[in-house]
Point group: C2
Chain length 332, copies 2
């Protein structure tokens, strides 16, 4: 039977919606990638997501692998039990019943989960942290998020809003975060934060401050900051090293909390390469106890951009109440 | 049978060793409390602990409740699997095989666990957080520690060193911590940190700085600081409010990580009363997402100073591998 199973997972991001049809071993049989088009409003975004899911279900059916359920990873906060996206920073959803709406559309059970939780599960089942206990996953991208898998089970928390690691306070009076708090990891170390610092630096240079090669970049994002830092620009270097130092503190705090076997780091900022991992490992070595840091492995995501969709597919399939142990078994 | 069972738990602290003989419902049948006498060296401290444990086992035997195992909660970092205390800040133990030594002495299986983990389990099974999922426990005392119980199981981490919450970095360039890091919660909000700030303030007052009623206290600890703050001393007030603000950030970060049902706070600083809980609740409200803070309850420990010993007794009894679910069942 298991050879004929199909699993559909959707990763709903602020810029892209990724959909995957996979088999029980996490092999990708088909995939879709569409821009989210968050500016078009909630109904249009839902329409894109639903048509991706429907076409993957159809493709599974045609291949004799009819999916029995669909998993969706979405940014929180969520009411995962009722399938509702409560509110999101980069998407037009407020109290949106994504789960029930998609179930009605597809005629299949839909499991909504936190996107960080889904990606952690993807890396635990099929990626860089296969079978690790505990596994902690951190995504450093436009925002900062995460997930944890303990004893083979995803840590969801009371309302599936655990591991909002981007909103740990790392600097009590630090820069304002979109969430309303100050000094969140996301306001200090995310792609958005790096871009904001770069814009400030360019403005400062224009009004007579320290000159920077960032001033001649047509676009100002984390990629440009890391590139100009690599070329020797001192202002870009300061922005990059400060952001990575805060990302390191964020990861070190998670190490101190979970005493994990493996921390997997994914997300677009990893494109800055070994530099990011060096900074994070340095922070963990200097800030955590040796009992925690000594045996801890810090690894790049093994599934690249697919962690979330593959994990969502697995979480959609394994029922959250009864069959949790199936997930742990699947990883071994 | 269960009526005739006895459980022995030992809470090994930097200043006191507490031992308990309990029944299966967490009722205390006998208890011992001795000063640790950390200055007398590791063998003498072990001797005190072993004689407390032996006398409780004997008392259980005499009452027809022969304990089948003994649980010990000790400060980390530990190698819990092998029963070894690796190193401690306030005790004379380095690579000390406490578990095997105590087993040899008592002729009973001994389970060594992190003290925060034990206290969390005590509060989960018998205290303020009965059956909560997740439950997070924080102790604010001489140091700051903690534990978490998820789905009825204690979160131990790879090497039983999870939840060293006192060593989360809350202020990257903050005061030096004994652990070697800077800006740890423990260096900002513990009883030791408050006492250190009070001493600095008294020295500053002596050399012409801001006068404070702390200067006339024969002893300078957290208790005196909270008392003088309550009497209107502005310097003591500043020290107290800053420390509680950092404790609040520590708890808010744990809320953001675990999305817990209940956070239980124990330890000597709770004697400062409602003021501590007000500060922590304010930090959680202002720094966490509403989805997390809305339904979260933050409660004082229900077992007072007995959380650790009662939890250690339970953890010693339930084997860590096979019978984990018994613990979850016992709470319902």
């Amino acid at each position: 039977m298991s050879g004929a199973e199909g699993f559909v997972g959707i990763d709903l991001g602020g810029t892209k919606i990724r959909g995957i049809l996979a088999d029980g071993e996490g092999r990708i049989l088909a995939s879709r990638l569409e821009p989210t088009g968050a500016g078009r409003g909630s109904e249009a975004v839902f329409e894109t997501l639903a048509s991706i899911a429907a076409s993957l279900v159809e493709e599974g059916r045609a291949a004799g692998r009819l999916p029995r359920s669909v998993g969706v990873g979405a940014p929180g906060p969520l009411d995962a039990e009722r399938g509702i996206i409560l509110v999101t920073e980069n998407l037009p959803f407020v109290d949106f019943p994504l789960g029930p709406s998609l179930e009605a559309r597809l005629g299949l059970p839909v499991k909504l989960d936190n996107d960080g939780c889904a990606a952690a599960m993807g890396e635990y089942l099929y990626g860089a942290g296969r079978g690790a206990d505990p596994l902690v996953y951190v995504t450093a991208s436009t925002g900062i998020g995460g997930g944890a898998v303990i004893g083979g089970r995803p840590l969801r928390g009371r309302g599936s809003n655990a591991l909002e690691v981007g909103h740990m306070t790392l600097l009590p009076d630090g820069p304002a975060c979109k969430c309303g708090n100050r000094g969140c990891a996301e306001a200090l170390a995310s792609g958005t934060a790096i871009a904001a610092r770069a814009e400030e630096a360019v403005l400062a240079a224009r009004s007579g401050g320290r000159p920077t090669s960032l001033s001649s970049c047509p676009r100002l994002g984390a990629e440009e900051v890391f590139r100009e830092a690599g070329r020797g620009d001192a202002v870009a270097e300061l922005i990059a090293s400060e952001a990575l130092a805060y990302l390191g503190i964020c990861v070190a705090n998670l190490a101190t909390i979970f005493d994990p076997e493996i921390i997997v780091i994914g997300g677009g900022l990893c494109r800055s390469g070994e530099r990011l991992f060096e900074a994070v490992r340095l922070a963990v070595r200097s800030r955590c106890s040796k009992a925690v840091s000594g045996s801890l492995r810090i690894l790049p995501a093994g599934l690249g951009g697919d962690s979330g969709a593959l994990g969502a597919a697995a979480l959609g399939h394994f029922s959250p109440s009864g069959a949790k142990n199936d997930i742990a078994e699947a990883a071994h």
